[in-house]
Amino acid sequence: MIKVMIAKPGLDGHDRGAKVVARTLRDAGMEVIYTGIRQTPEQIVQSAIDEDVDILGISILSGAHMKLVPKILELLREKKASVPVFVGGIIPDEDVDKLKEMGVIEVYGPGTSTSEISEQVKSFVEHSDT
């Protein structure tokens, strides 16, 4: 059984995307924990560790991804949690590569098909060595 957490850090409350992805992954047979909106990186990382999730999805539409995502990755490392992270939202192309360099496994922008997300999430979990 794959356990995923979908988290929404920062101040934007546009959670439609996060909910659609959570619902999609549920329908793909995964157990999906949704954190709700306006979470701090600390809340997200501690929740992911306590829930012992296989993978963490971050949804950001506020433009603050270059602040929030590195902070989440840093906290995960600090707490020795090797949880793969993917990101969804409005992320400019030039930032996509930077996020991936930091260790984000994939970035999903507008227009991504939901089946693509669920298939890839499955394969990320199957191929991660944790």
Partner: protein, 307 residues
């Protein structure tokens, strides 16, 4: 030492040192391999937590109420287990109770864990006994178990909890509904949540009227979980009840009952596993033959595991 033994040693040490990360791993083991989890937990000292069940229909504010209770217990070590339903079609689940409790995600004394019901029909997770034991081994003072949103007959929580809180909301129905068997019977305490709704007064009188027909007086608390009104009275009552049941024998009785149901659930799990493996190729096997075969396999498994 083999890898498995090293892993077990790590888990045992981590639990003793109260490492949160390790507790999270042990809870995962409870879900993925409860048999192994039982063996592991059997090697750890166990303290007694007050196990409180929070049950009631969907959307009446159980998670918000648990969150409000957590607000009132800053000094205690509290675990919250939040169970949500698994899909009968895909096996997937949306575990959304945590949303209401996220303000406690980073609290040092509080540990929230979501469980999917995974085919269990009584409103809980099949690993609920193991999970409660894991939290008790971790030294929690309280374990609050929130069931899935239940109807009238998902009452397994009564076999797990020391105290069952049945939460009702003002729209919960007329006096006949209050008189029904099942959910309404298992309450050690009632909570009428959303009591700012004027209809809650009507519910209160219906509940009292229904109770007056019986012999048992069950305390009723009025709360507004969103604002926290009335919740400190509920928490006070929970604390007092634990002292009472610890001394009057009720706790012992409840724990005995829990042990019986835990044993039953482990045996059922083993049996399910054997049934999956059993070879039905044999010609002409009948009910009695199959029963014998299963009992034999179960006994053989146990004599093997003791070697």
């Amino acid at each position: 030492m083999s890898n498995i033994q090293t892993h077990e040693y790590e888990l045992l040490k981590g639990m003793e040192k109260r490492e949160r990360r390790i507790l999270a791993k042990v809870l995962s083991l409870c879900e993925s391999d409860p048999g192994k989890a039982n063996i592991l937990l059997g090697k750890l000292p166990k303290s007694t937590a007050h196990i409180v069940g929070m049950t009631g229909s969907p959307g009446i504010g159980k998670s918000t109420l648990v969150n409000a209770i957590l607000n009132e217990m800053p000094e205690r070590r509290v675990a919250a287990i939040a169970v949500d339903p698994s899909s009968p079609f895909t096996g997937g689940a949306l575990l959304g109770d945590r949303v209401r409790m996220q303000s406690h995600a980073t609290s040092e004394n509080i540990f929230i864990r979501s469980f999917a019901s995974r085919g269990s029909l009584g409103g809980l997770s099949p690993s609920i006994y193991e999970a409660c034991n894991a939290f008790e081994s971790f030294g929690m003072n309280y374990v609050i178990v929130e069931t899935v949103g239940v109807g009238q007959s998902e009452v397994d929580i009564v076999n797990v909890a020391d105290t069952v809180v049945v939460a009702l909301s003002p729209d919960n129905g007329d006096e006949i509904q209050m008189m029904k068997a099942g959910l309404m019977e298992i309450a050690d305490m009632f909570v009428i949540n959303k009591f700012d709704n004027p209809k809650s007064q009507i519910l209160l009188s219906r509940l009292r009227a229904a109770m007056a027909m019986g012999r048992k007086e069950i305390p009723i608390y009025l709360t507004n979980a969103l604002t926290g009104e009335g919740v400190s009275d509920l928490v006070k009552a929970l604390n007092e009840r634990f002292l009472t049941i610890s001394s009057n024998g009720v706790l012992k009785k409840r724990r005995k009952n829990r042990l019986i149901h835990h044993a039953q659930s482990t045996l059922k799990r083993e049996l399910d596993f054997l049934i999956e493996k059993i070879d039905l190729e044999e010609e002409g096997i009948d009910l009695d033959g199959l029963r014998r075969k299963l009992i034999h396999a179960l006994c053989w498994n146990h004599s093997e595991s003791r070697k």
